[in-house]
């Protein structure tokens, strides 16, 4: 038989089993070297730093979670924060992507040669770049005067540069939040109530019985606190009435959706007033005590019947009666919410006036379930010498035409920067921070010409947006997670402050806005206005003035203060409103004085040009326009926009779901990039819808290397590109952008051009 002995057998089996035993440890070693599986961060392991989110303007307070190595792992809402109630929206949750984005601006850039179309930059050290900025600003001062240097700003970075400019001696400034967004709404409400709405709007949604959304696609705009309160309202079984030409998210969750024909909203509002007044559904005591001009209003709306409105808005008269009765029945716990971005068709201040009037006759202003009186903490500003008085300011530019402009009109500033402007208020230098005017301010061609006409352009930004390509100097700012900014003192039900504290050191060679402003200020000789070295000193001083401290704020993030004034009107209480008459002006004496319609009058805004579809744009809940498209976390959620097209239109053009199309407007302008089609019944057959802010074209060359937002580049169409018709609101200068039309091209128009 076999001569196999035991020793041999054991040797062989030993090798085999050793092989089996060795494999697990080998794979573990392999794993340790080659893979780094990250375990989730546990609550008790994390270091938490308070922050205020900057991804949108709701500015929720939250906590930045850092792991043991000091890396940012996640951002969670602050439980006691009234804006977020401990739950951030998707953009806030994904805010850390802003920090980790590898396409960020990393070093100051200086333009080396100025050619048409192609921008060449070289990296520079901070000292050189800041010296250059100061030098150029002094040059403009010499040649044209300090007033000719304009500041376009946005967000929490803005105030640092506002201080710089005012200290220097220029008050030529504006932000897109004005003319492009809120100014028409604020003017309408201020004219009526003597007070605007600001942010966050003091709408008492969680206590209301009836919420009317006319111009507010909440749920697609993630106005965090309000979305939460609307959700609570749905739980309660409250009534939600949505007026929207398309079947928005909130329309799907509403009690009633009124599919209005675009541009006819004022007709609906006037018809509602008609029903509410004629059927006695208004709050009689409230109107009696607090309003002025009721009789004139009553006479004025008699001709605006629901039957008339039906022919204009295509909403059945029965629905108009029904919804008016719902609103009246809920009075005074009813809110007609105007939303934001209220500049639509050029008569927008009149429309927001109508909304304000409607709220007033339903008695909701200053009442529970309506609009509460918000209060904010007044933080003392650090002492400094008085600001010099410039020879002319944004008011001279804006209020010439628009009497009730309450802030700088950005497009007026742009117009004054054009080569064809020959008047006294010339703008020859621009300082742009935290805004991309090519996307946000219409029209693109005007802005390009204005920028080309400048002697000097400075851009302070975190990302290489398209605007950086027009700058002479680009200064990289640190993101909100890496810097200090002013304390948040937004108004709310209870006055509160929130601290933004840097969680990590600025990445790359970026600097906080306050530091950049201070450095420029020192170089301009403004030492007196910058007696502090570190902005933390300023904040600590401010906090101590109101009985708190940096220590405390770093621990709690948000601090409340007691109210000094009541939140609601007491029944029968005497109240003086900040208007000419001291009452809520249904009939506006201000408007009358300046020659505008004192009561809103319906104006027809025309029809589609034949063969063209109305361009409706809006928001997505997971993006803040161009700001977040390159954010790796938010890009993961959605990277391609879709063009909503009605099936009838799809049939006419021969479109399929997912097909790429280009857009063309009546002026012949063709979109740079294509967009994918979504065939849906949720849009009207005479309109198309797409989200605002896509179609990024930002690309610059730095020392021969390309720098761009590579994820966002070329995806979708920028609506601003297609907008040619800007209807200026005569009262405020607000830019109405919703009367714009496009047609669909199924073939790539740029290829055709190249061929021919």
């Amino acid at each position: 038989m076999s001569k196999l002995n035991r020793r041999d057998f054991i040797k062989i089996s030993g090798t085999a089993s050793a092989g089996m035993v060795m494999t697990p440890p080998l794979t573990s070693i392999w794993k340790t070297i080659f893979s780094d599986e990250e375990k989730p961060l546990l609550e008790n392991e994390a270091k938490k730093v308070p922050t205020v989110c900057e991804v949108c303007f709701w500015n929720c307070a939250g906590w930045t979670y850092l792991d043991k190595e000091g890396n940012i792992k996640k951002i969670i809402g602050n439980d006691i924060d009234p804006h977020s109630n401990g739950r951030l929206c998707p953009r806030g949750t994904g805010g850390l992507g802003m920090y980790y984005d590898e396409d960020r601006l990393k070093k100051p850039l200086i333009r080396v040669k100025r050619e048409d179309g192609k921008s060449e930059f070289r990296e520079a050290e901070w000292d050189e770049a800041l010296d250059l900025v100061a030098t150029k600003m002094k040059e403009i001062e010499k040649k044209y005067g300090k007033e000719s240097m304009a500041l376009l700003f946005h967000g929490k970075t803005g105030p640092h540069f506002e201080h710089l400019f005012k200290a220097w001696g220029s008050d030529t400034m504006g932000e897109p939040a004005g003319a492009q967004c809120l100014i028409t709404r604020e003017a309408g409400f201020i004219a009526t109530y003597g007070a605007g709405l600001a942010s966050p709007e003091p709408t008492d949604v969680r206590n209301t019985d009836c919420l009317v959304l006319i111009g507010n696609h909440i749920g697609e705009n993630m106005h965090n606190g309000h979305v939460q309160e609307v959700s609570a309202l749905i739980d309660k079984g409250g009534t939600i009435i949505t007026v929207d030409p398309r079947f928005s998210t909130m329309a799907a969750h509403s009690t009633k959706w009124l599919p209005i024909k675009p541009s006819t909203d004022l007709a609906l509002l006037l018809a509602w007033m008609n029903v509410i007044i004629n059927e006695g559904l208004y709050d009689k005591d409230y109107v009696e005590q607090y309003t002025y001009g009721f009789e004139q209003l009553k006479d004025h709306v008699q001709k605006y019947t629901p039957e008339w409105a039906e022919s204009i808005t295509t909403i059945p008269a029965g629905d108009i009666y029904e919804t008016a009765r719902l609103m009246g029945g809920a009075s005074p716990r009813v809110i007609i919410h105007p939303g934001r971005h209220t500049a639509w068709y050029g008569d927008d201040t009149q429309r927001t006036r109508a909304i304000a009037i409607l709220n007033a006759i339903l008695g909701s202003w200053g009442r529970e379930g309506g609009f509460y009186f918000p209060e904010k903490v007044k933080l003392p500003k650090e002492a400094h010498p008085p600001f010099p008085k410039p020879k002319w300011t944004w008011k001279d530019i804006s209020r010439d035409k628009h009497k009730l402009a309450i802030m700088g009109i950005t497009n007026e500033l742009i117009d004054h920067a054009l080569p064809e402007y020959k008047g006294p208020y010339k703008i020859k230098g621009m300082f742009i921070t935290a805004t991309n005017p090519l996307q946000s301010i219409p029209s693109q061609d005007t802005i390009r010409r204005a920028l080309d006409n400048q002697d000097f352009v400075v851009v302070v930004d975190t990302m290489p947006a398209e605007i950086t390509g027009y700058a002479d100097v680009v200064l990289p700012e640190a993101t909100y997670l890496e810097r200090l900014d002013h304390l948040r003192t937004a108004h709310h039900r209870q006055p509160n402050i929130a601290l933004r504290y840097p969680a990590v050191e600025p990445k790359y060679d970026t600097k906080p806005g306050w530091w950049i402003a201070r450095e420029i200020g020192i170089r301009l000789g403004l030492h007196d206005y910058y007696e502090w070295e570190d902005f933390e000193e300023v904040l600590d001083w401010q906090l101590k003035q109101v009985g708190s401290s940096m220590e405390e704020m770093k621990k709690v993030g948000v601090k409340y203060f007691p109210r000094k004034t009541p939140m609601y009107l007491k029944p029968g209480e005497e109240y003086w409103f900040n208007t000419n008459t001291g009452k809520i002006e249904l009939y506006s004496t201000d408007f009358e004085e300046w020659g505008y319609d004192p009561l809103p009058v319906y104006k027809d805004h025309g029809e589609n040009p034949p063969g063209f579809l109305r361009l409706i744009y809006g928001r997505l809940p997971m993006h803040t326009f161009g700001r977040t498209l390159n954010n790796p976390n938010l890009f993961d959620l959605k990277h391609d926009p879709h063009l909503w097209v009605h099936p009838k239109v799809a049939r006419i053009y021969g479109l399929e779901n997912g097909q790429e199309v280009w857009l063309k407007n009546p002026k012949g302008k063709v979109s740079s990039f294509p967009i994918k089609v979504r065939v849906t019944e949720r849009i009207r057959h005479d309109s198309v819808f797409m989200p605002h802010g896509f179609g990024n074209k930002g690309r610059i060359w730095v020392d021969g290397k390309k720098l761009e937002m590579h994820r966002a580049y070329g995806r979708g169409i920028l609506d601003s590109e297609m907008i040619y018709n800007i209807e200026i609101d005569p009262v405020t200068g607000g830019t109405g952008l919703r009367n714009n039309f496009v047609t669909i091209l199924t073939e790539n128009p740029h290829k055709k051009e190249a061929k021919s």
Binding site: T27, S28, K31, S35, E37, E38, K39, P40, L41, L42, E43, K73, K74, I75, I76, G77, S84, R87, L88, C89, P90, T93, G94, L96, I218, G219, E220, M222, N224, V227, Q228, V230, S231, A232, I234, D235, F247, T249, M250, A251, A252, H253, W257, P259, P621, M622, P632, N633, L634, F635, D636, L637, K638, H646, T680, E681, R682, I683, R684, H685
Partner: protein
């Protein structure tokens, strides 16, 4: 888990919160949003669904795993032990909900109901972050828990019940 579809606005906060909580690599997601729309303008209906692994009671994935890497832990949460997974893909084929995917490291990954948070008495990241508070998590075996009461009192449905997997996420109308 229970999700109220009459409140969900499809913001995808649940998706990005899961990503930052669980270090999900870019380009992958453990949960996702589906939109369902019906009708003809203007008689329309629409709602969103936040979908993820349903942690079924009759899991086809655990049954078919050849190494036992896919397993069920206390509470009914279905998990994958990364070091035991060979990456064969049987569980991905078995799942009717597209919940599972190959992680770039090679093993199979999916929603874990944030069991590391549940162990500490917290809700999963998606439930904790949802701004409309439309997501609820709790013990379905306890008849007095908030979630059991919700499911008892509200009209609800599960996804693809005909696949026979007995999913444990209930969508409340």
């Amino acid at each position: 888990m229970a999700i109220e579809v009459n409140k969900c606005v499809g913001c995808a906060d649940c998706v990005v919160a899961c990503q930052t909580e669980n270090n999900v690599p870019h380009g992958y997601s453990r949960d996702w949003i589906v939109e369902i729309a019906r009708g003809e303008y203007p008689d329309l209906y629409m709602h969103f669904e936040s979908q993820r692994c349903n942690h079924c009671d009759d899991t086809p994935c655990v049954r078919t795993c050849p190494t036992g890497a896919s397993h069920i832990i206390e509470g009914g949460i279905v998990k994958v032990t990364h070091d035991e997974c060979i990456g064969c893909g049987a569980c991905i084929e078995a799942c009717p909900y597209d919940a599972r995917y190959f992680h770039p490291e090679g093993y199979v990954d999916k929603c874990t109901f944030c069991d590391h948070r549940v162990a500490d008495g917290l809700d999963p990241a998606c439930v904790s972050v949802c701004p409309t508070t439309c997501m609820h998590f709790g013990d379905l075996d306890d008849p007095d828990s908030e979630i059991s009461k919700l499911i008892r009192t509200r009209e609800n449905y599960t996804l693809i019940p005909e696949a026979g997997t007995n999913p444990q996420i209930f969508y409340l109308k």
